[in-house]
C-alpha cells in the first residue's frame, strides 16, 4: 500500500469516528446532510467536471430518487435497503430517457433543456396528487433497520450515508481512471477531436448523464429516509444551483473537490448563523470571492501549493494542435 492510499484509509477511519466524538444533534444532522449532498455533487462532477456537460437538473434527480424510495417503502412496506437501490436504478433510467434527446444539445441549450426538465419534475410532484400526495408531501417514510437496531438517529444514520459516500467516491474514482473516464475527458477537452479518435461521444455523454442522475437519486433516497418527510418545494431550481455552486467552489474536475465543496457550502450558512438576516450577503460575497480567487476551486488552490495533491492525469497532448515552426519561432 503506498503512502497516498494509506493516508486516505487513515482519513476515512478518522472520519468514521465523527458521530462518536460529536454529540450535538444539530452538528450531526448538518454533517449527515453535507455527506448526502456530497454524493449528489460527485454525480454532477462526473457530468460537468469530467465530461464538461452542464446540467441544472440535479435537484430534480435528487427529488426523483427521494420520491421513488419513499413511495416504494410506504406503499409496499419494503425495507429502505431494497428501495434505495431500486430508486437509484429508476433515477438512472429516467436519466437515460432524458439524456438521450437532451445531449444532442450542447452549451447554453443543454443548460436550458435541463432547467426545463427540473421545472417539469417539480410541477409533476406538486400536481400529481394521486401518486405524490401533491404539495403536502409524504410523511411516515420509514428509517432503515439493521437487525434489531432502527437507524433513526443522526448518529446511526451517519454510517449509512458515510457508507454511501465511500461507495460513491470509489465508483467515481474507478470511472475516472478507466477507459470511460479518459473518453469523458477527451469529450470535455474537444468533442470533435474525441469523435475523430473514434469515441462514440453521444453514448459516453449519455452514460455520464445516467451516472450523474444515479448519484443524484442515491442522495435523494438517503435524505428521504433521514428526514422521513419530503415535499416538492425541496427539489427546486434553486437547489440545483446550490449543487452547481458546491461543485464549482470545491473544484469541478476532482472528486475531492466535489466532496469538499458540498461539505463547505453546507456548513458555511450554519457557521454564519450568528449574522442572522445579513448572513446571505456574507455568504454571497464569500462565494464571489472564492470564484474570483479560486477559479479551479478549493482543490485547485491546494494543488497550486501542494502539486502532489490528487495529481491530474496527463492532459491528452495528442489532441492539441501542433505549433507550426515558423521562421520567427525558429530563430
Amino acid at each position: 500500500m503506498n503512502r497516498r492510499a494509506l493516508a486516505v484509509a487513515v482519513a476515512a477511519i478518522l472520519l468514521a469516528a465523527f458521530p462518536l466524538v460529536v454529540k450535538s444533534q444539530y452538528i450531526l444532522q448538518v454533517g449527515d446532510s453535507a455527506i448526502i449532498y456530497a454524493v449528489a455533487v460527485i454525480g454532477l462532477g462526473i457530468l460537468l467536471g469530467f465530461t464538461g456537460q452542464m446540467s441544472l437538473a440535479q435537484a430534480a434527480f435528487f427529488g426523483i430518487g427521494a420520491y421513488a424510495s419513499a413511495l416504494l417503502s410506504i406503499s409496499f412496506g419494503w425495507s429502505p435497503w431494497v428501495t434505495i437501490p431500486l430508486a437509484v436504478a429508476f433515477t438512472a433510467l429516467v436519466g437515460a430517457l432524458v439524456g438521450w434527446p437532451c445531449l444532442r444539445l450542447s452549451g447554453h441549450y443543454l443548460a436550458l433543456a435541463t432547467i426545463g426538465f427540473g421545472i417539469i419534475v417539480q410541477l409533476f410532484l406538486i400536481n400529481d396528487k394521486g401518486l405524490t400526495n401533491g404539495p403536502d408531501g409524504l410523511t411516515g417514510i420509514p428509517p432503515p433497520k439493521l437487525g434489531p437496531l432502527t437507524l433513526d438517529t443522526y448518529q446511526t444514520y451517519f454510517y449509512v450515508v458515510y457508507g454511501a459516500l465511500l461507495l460513491s467516491i470509489y465508483v467515481a474514482w474507478r470511472v475516472k481512471h478507466s477507459r470511460i473516464g479518459r473518453a469523458l475527458e477527451a469529450i470535455r477537452e474537444n468533442e470533435i477531436a474525441a469523435q475523430a479518435m473514434g469515441i462514440d461521444t453521444t453514448r459516453y455523454k449519455v452514460l455520464a448523464f445516467v451516472l450523474a442522475s444515479a448519484f443524484g437519486g442515491l442522495g435523494g433516497a438517503l435524505i428521504a429516509h433521514m428526514t422521513r418527510f419530503i415535499s416538492p418545494d425541496s427539489y427546486s431550481f434553486d437547489q440545483s444551483v446550490v449543487f452547481l455552486v458546491m461543485l464549482v467552489i470545491g473544484g469541478s474536475s476532482t472528486i475531492t473537490g466535489a466532496v469538499t465543496g458540498a461539505i463547505l457550502l453546507t456548513f458555511l450558512p450554519e457557521v454564519l448563523r450568528p449574522l442572522k438576516d445579513s448572513y446571505i450577503m456574507v455568504y454571497g460575497a464569500a462565494v464571489i470571492v472564492m470564484v474570483i480567487f479560486m477559479p479551479d476551486g478549493l482543490i485547485g488552490l491546494v494543488k497550486r501549493f501542494a502539486p502532489s495533491f490528487e495529481p491530474s492525469p496527463p492532459r491528452p497532448q495528442a489532441l492539441r494542435a501542433p505549433v507550426p515552426r515558423t521562421a520567427d519561432t525558429a530563430s
Binding site: Y26, I126, G134, G137, T139, I223, F229, S231, D277
Partner: protein
C-alpha cells in the same frame, strides 16, 4: 459527617436529578428559555420579520407583568432562522433543541412543520405552531398545538359567506401551486360540496408568477360570480388585486385567504383592494379588550399596524398562552405543560377564544372583513364549535 455508601448514593441521585430535570431545580428568577424559528431569510422573510416582532412583543408583555411567567421568572427568547427551506429548518430546530429551550414556537409553513415532526416527537417539548394545513394536527403528535384556525375552518367560512350570505353560487378558485394554496383550494372544493356545488374554474399559478391575466380571464369566462383566492405571498396578492382591478373584473366578488389581507399586500395594492373581502384569523375592530390592547401597544412600539393573521398576532398568543400555562401549573416541565395545554378552555387571546380539541387545535373561529383604503373592517365572525 462520615461518607457512607448511602450519602454517596444520595449525592449521585441528586446529581442525576439535576442533570435530568434542569428546569425543575432552576431557582427563582431564572429565565425560561423558549425557542422560536421564524423564516428570517428567503422568500418567506416578510412573515419571519413579523413573527420576530410578535415574539419580542410577547416577551416584553410577559416580562413587564408582576411575577413575569411565575416565580419572577422572565421569558428569554432563543431565535434561529428557519430560512424558507425544509432541511435548513430542521437544522435550526436541532440547534435550538441543543440550547436548553423548554418549548418551541413556530413555524407557520406546514411543510416545515411536517419536516420537523419526527424530531419534535422525540423531543416531546410543547410545540406551538401556526401552519394551517389540516394534516398538521393529524400527525399523531400530542405535543403539537395549532394557534390559528385550520384551512378547513377558513375555507368553510369563506364558502359559507359567498354562498349563504351573498347568494353567489358560481365560484372560481385561484390558488398558488404550493402546499398552502393547493391545500386551501382543496378545502374550498370540499366546502362547496356541502352545498352540492362544484367550482366553475380552478386555476393554479406557480411561484414567481408576475402576470395573472390568463388565470383571471379564464375564471371570468367560466362565468364565475365570485373568486376565492388562496395566496400565500403578500407580493402575489398585491399584483393579483392590481390586475383584477385593471381588467375591470370588479363585478365578480373577490374573497381572499388571510395573506391577501396582509397590510403590506393591501398597502401595495392601494385602491385596487377596495371592495374585496378577506378572511382573517382576527380583524381589527373585533370587540375584544385583549386585541384592542395588543393593537394599541403594538402600534406604540413599532409604529405600524400588526398583521394579526399570519404574523404577529398568533405568535404573541402562542407565547402568552405558554406563559399563562406555566403560571397555572407552576413548572416548565415539558410533559406537564403539554398536558396542561390540552386542558386549555376559553383562554382569551388576540385571535379570540382558545379552547383545545383532541387534535391540539386551539382556535375555532375566523372572521371576514371588507377592505377599504387599505384597511380591513369586520363583516362577520364565523365560529365553529368543538
Amino acid at each position: 459527617m462520615s461518607v457512607t455508601r448511602r450519602t454517596i448514593l444520595a449525592g449521585a441521585a441528586a446529581g442525576t436529578a439535576t442533570l435530568a430535570f434542569p428546569n425543575v431545580v432552576l431557582g427563582k428568577g431564572e429565565p425560561i428559555r423558549v425557542g422560536t424559528i421564524p423564516p428570517i431569510t428567503g422568500p418567506q422573510a416578510l412573515n419571519g420579520e413579523e413573527e420576530v416582532e410578535g415574539a419580542q412583543y410577547a416577551a416584553e408583555e410577559i416580562n413587564s407583568r408582576p411575577g413575569k411567567c411565575f416565580d419572577d421568572r422572565p421569558i428569554e427568547l432563543v431565535i434561529e432562522d428557519a430560512t424558507s427551506d425544509n432541511q435548513a429548518a430542521v437544522g435550526a430546530l436541532n440547534k435550538l433543541l441543543g440550547e436548553n429551550v423548554v418549548a418551541v414556537v413556530q413555524p407557520v409553513l406546514s411543510t416545515q412543520i411536517q419536516a420537523m415532526a419526527p424530531v419534535m416527537q422525540k423531543a416531546g417539548l410543547p410545540w406551538m405552531t401556526g401552519g394551517t394545513a389540516v394534516k398538521n394536527t393529524q400527525l399523531g403528535l400530542r405535543n403539537l398545538f395549532r394557534c390559528r384556525a385550520s384551512d378547513a375552518i377558513t375555507a368553510h367560512g369563506l364558502v359559507d359567506f359567498a354562498v349563504k350570505e351573498k347568494g353567489l353560487k358560481k365560484i372560481g378558485i385561484l390558488h398558488a401551486s404550493e402546499a398552502f394554496g393547493v391545500g386551501g383550494a382543496d378545502q374550498v372544493e370540499t366546502a362547496l360540496k356541502t352545498y352540492n356545488l362544484k367550482a366553475v374554474a380552478r386555476e393554479g399559478f406557480p411561484a414567481n408568477t408576475k402576470d395573472f391575466t390568463p388565470e383571471l380571464l379564464k375564471i371570468k369566462s367560466a362565468g364565475a360570480e365570485a373568486i376565492i383566492a388562496y395566496v400565500q405571498n403578500p407580493s402575489d396578492s398585491a399584483v393579483i388585486l392590481d390586475q383584477y382591478k385593471s381588467l375591470n373584473l370588479t363585478s365578480i366578488a373577490f374573497i381572499g385567504s388571510p395573506a391577501v389581507g396582509n397590510p403590506t399586500a393591501l398597502n401595495t395594492a392601494k385602491t385596487a383592494a377596495d371592495g374585496i373581502y378577506v378572511a382573517q384569523d382576527f380583524i381589527i375592530g373585533f370587540n375584544s379588550n385583549v386585541a384592542t390592547k395588543f393593537i394599541t401597544n403594538f402600534y406604540r412600539k413599532y409604529h405600524k399596524q400588526p398583521d394579526v393573521g399570519t404574523g404577529q398576532g398568533w405568535t404573541r398568543d402562542a407565547f402568552l398562552l405558554l406563559a399563562d400555562t406555566y403560571k397555572r401549573i407552576g413548572t416548565t416541565d415539558p410533559a406537564k405543560t403539554v398536558e396542561a395545554l390540552h386542558q386549555t378552555k376559553h383562554w382569551e387571546g388576540v385571535l379570540g377564544d382558545f379552547t383545545c380539541d383532541t387534535e391540539g387545535n386551539l382556535v375555532h373561529n375566523m372572521s371576514i372583513g371588507l377592505v377599504k383604503s387599505s384597511k380591513v373592517s369586520l363583516v362577520k365572525t364565523v365560529k365553529v364549535t368543538v
